[in-house]
């Protein structure tokens, strides 16, 4: 081999060594350097959303992680929250059922511990980790009131009473009264199916139908009662009781008065 051909080859070898070294260095850096956290992936969306997720994570770690685990995996006290979705968070937290005060057969409705904004942040955090049922955009109390009433009586009234007054289930469980529930809580309950309640997915009741039901429930629980006292809207039992005690009792008193001598 001539020298003239040997020199360029040596030079080429040097380049290759440098390139391999650089590649190794880069690979090592990408392998060993601190990775960005998975939670920051939704940064592709709006920055508001990522801020909400971050704030929700802080709220979660502070208030919920004791029972539900630092990574939503669940624990001794609470179930895993991966995949429950924002609907579940809105229902449980906005109605005050979570955080749970003490273990009972069913989580009771309480004064909410978080503001609506904080509920949204928590919901964003849970939704960002595993997804799940969501709430639709726009007003939730919308649609055909009459259709909402039909669907309510068909799907909801068997447990929650025809006027949303609630009712008893088995072994101490109960279907709660619907009057204190906000539209978001009503919709998210249908969407997530909390505790004993069946879940009504979008394939069974469309978004429009669920909005109509929510509208109807808000309507009957907030409408005025021009007929006077509704006696809890429990139907014929309390009404009959009042008639027997007050009505017939009053008649007996009147009869005694008329029959008595002056």
């Amino acid at each position: 081999m001539s020298r003239s051909t040997a020199r360029p080859r040596r030079k080429l070898n040097q380049y290759v060594v440098v390139l391999v070294g650089l590649a190794l260095l880069g690979g090592l850096y990408t392998a060993l350097a601190p990775r960005t956290t998975a939670q920051e992936e939704p940064q592709q969306g709006s920055s508001d959303q990522s801020l909400a997720v971050k704030a929700g994570r802080d709220l979660y770690l502070q208030g919920c992680s004791t029972c539900h685990g630092l990574n939503l995996q669940g624990g001794a006290g609470g179930p895993s929250l991966i995949g429950v979705g924002e609907a579940s968070v809105v229902f449980q937290v906005e109605s005050g059922r979570m955080p749970l005060a003490n273990g009972t057969v069913q989580a009771p409705r309480k004064d909410p511990k978080y503001t609506i904004a904080q509920v949204d942040q928590l919901a964003a955090y849970i939704q960002a980790n595993g997804g799940g049922p969501t709430l639709p955009e726009g007003s939730l109390t919308d649609g055909d009131l009459q259709e909402g009433g039909e669907l309510f009586r068909l799907n909801c009234a068997s447990c929650h009473n025809f006027a949303g007054s609630g009712g008893a289930l088995t072994y101490g469980k109960y279907a709660p009264e619907l009057a204190p529930a906000s539209a978001r809580v009503i919709y998210s309950a249908m969407q997530s199916g909390p505790e004993s309640m069946p879940r009504f997915g979008d394939g069974q009741l469309s978004v429009e139908e669920k909005k109509a039901i929510t509208y109807y429930v808000r309507y009957i629980t907030t409408a005025t009662q021009p007929g006077g006292n509704d006696l809890g809207k429990y139907g014929p039992v309390p009404e009959g009781l009042v008639m027997w005690l007050a009505g017939i009792g009053g008649l007996v008193v009147m009869t005694l008065w008329i029959g008595n001598r002056a």
Binding site: S158, G167, L169, G203, Q204, P226, W257, I258, A262
Partner: protein, 400 residues
């Protein structure tokens, strides 16, 4: 007091004691009708004091106790016979309300109360009319919540004002003498009875029935045959075989789709885990058939205990039961998705939806009938046949 033309007086003609002057003669057989004067009599002779009260079954005489007014008479009714016979006769105390100053004041007060109650009724009527015509009522306006209750209250004032006034009036101002109204003798007078009998006999003679034997016999024959006419109605109540078929079958048939109340078929992808759907058979008037209502439930397939012989009745955790309680026929639609309990709201019968709807609590004696389901080519649920057994409460002709 008996009068000569009183029929009861004819029965015991010698016991006409009258109420004017009670005698001291023992008088055991006296009847109530004779002892106390009739209301008409009293009205006619207001000064006459009544004699003793009902002495039936007692050996008291009317003169044993002389009463001045019906109040003491009523008082005497309250005692038993022994006490009556031992008690001394009450002293005669005529009450003349007109001279009693206290009584006069009381009556004046009562009069004012009555007038006030009548005026209250007037106020109620005016209020009702004013509320009805002047209040521009709008349903569902929070400002108008009092509209209907106000109508009710004013109407109640208008009615009870007059009623209560009348009662106070009657109790405080009117004479409160107890009177007895005699019952009129039953039956028509002998003259009427005789006249009716004559007319009937004349009518019979007019028909010539006693003479015309042919008419009489054919009439008896056709009338007797008429008695057979209701017999076919008895057959209309049976036969039991049809009844059994009617009670034991529903609208579900093999291949019939499961539809919702609005008529849309249920796809196998429609329900999420833990969902329930009220379903009806896709036959004419299917959603109106009272015995065919069913509940389609979706649970995790591993949660479902499949009975032997029912392996192909459910599908991927989808299971369908009759929604009619086997106790008294209430709708069983209270489903708890965590415990898979199906609860009847009427008497708390609880069925285990994950275990062939076995009864786990309550008065129901039999599990809910299960509907075998499958899916058709388009993925919609279809029934594989009718229910496994008759739906609803037990009945006598039940075979299962």
């Amino acid at each position: 007091m008996s009068t000569p033309d009183d029929p009861t007086a004819n029965a015991t003609p010698t016991t006409s004691t009258g109420g004017q002057q009670p005698t001291s003669t023992p008088h055991g057989g006296q009847t109530a009708a004779e002892a106390s004067p009739s209301i008409r009599e009293r009205l006619r002779n207001p000064g006459v004091q009544s004699s003793g009260g009902d002495t039936r079954g007692s050996d008291l005489t009317a003169g044993d106790f002389r009463q001045t007014d019906s109040r003491s008479e009523l008082h005497a009714h309250g005692r038993d016979e022994r006490q009556l016979s031992q008690s001394t006769p009450p002293v005669e105390q005529p009450i003349d309300r007109q001279v009693d100053a206290f009584e006069l004041g009381r009556q004046a007060r009562a009069e004012r109360v009555v007038a006030a109650l009548f005026l209250l009724s007037l106020l109620g009527t005016i209020g009702f009319v004013l509320v009805y015509f002047l209040w521009d009522f709008a349903f569902d306006d929070p400002d108008h919540v009092l509209y209907t209750p106000l109508l009710g209250i004013t109407m109640a004032l208008a009615l009870t004002g007059i009623g209560a006034g009348a009662v106070v009036w009657a109790k405080n101002l009117m004479d409160d003498e107890e009177t007895t109204q005699e019952r009129y003798p039953f039956g028509s007078s002998p003259e009427d009875r005789a006249a009716t009998g004559t007319a009937l006999k004349a009518g019979l003679a007019e028909t010539q029935l006693p003479r015309r034997k042919l008419l009489r016999n054919t009439l008896l024959l056709s009338g007797g045959a008429l008695a057979v006419l209701p017999v076919p109605f008895l057959f209309g109540l049976g036969p039991y075989q049809n009844k059994e078929a009617k009670l034991a079958t529903t609208g579900w048939q093999p291949g019939v789709r499961l539809i919702r109340k609005n008529g849309s078929p249920v796809n196998r992808d429609d329900l999420t885990l833990g969902a329930v759907e009220s379903v009806f058979p896709d036959v004419p008037r299917g959603t109106k058939l009272a015995d065919s209502a069913a509940l389609l439930i979706r649970m995790r397939p591993e949660d479902l205990t499949v009975r032997e012989g029912r392996e192909d009745w459910s599908l991927d955790g989808y299971v369908c039961y009759s929604a009619i309680c086997t106790h008294l026929g209430c709708p069983v639609k209270l489903y708890e998705q965590q415990t898979h309990n199906l609860l009847c709201p009427c008497h708390q019968s609880t069925f285990s939806a994950d275990n062939a709807a076995e009864v786990i609590f309550g008065p129901a004696a039999r599990p809910l009938p299960q509907l075998a389901i499958s899916v058709d080519d388009e993925g919609y649920f279809i029934a594989r046949g009718d229910f496994s057994e008759p739906v609803g409460p037990s009945y006598w002709e039940r075979t299962s």
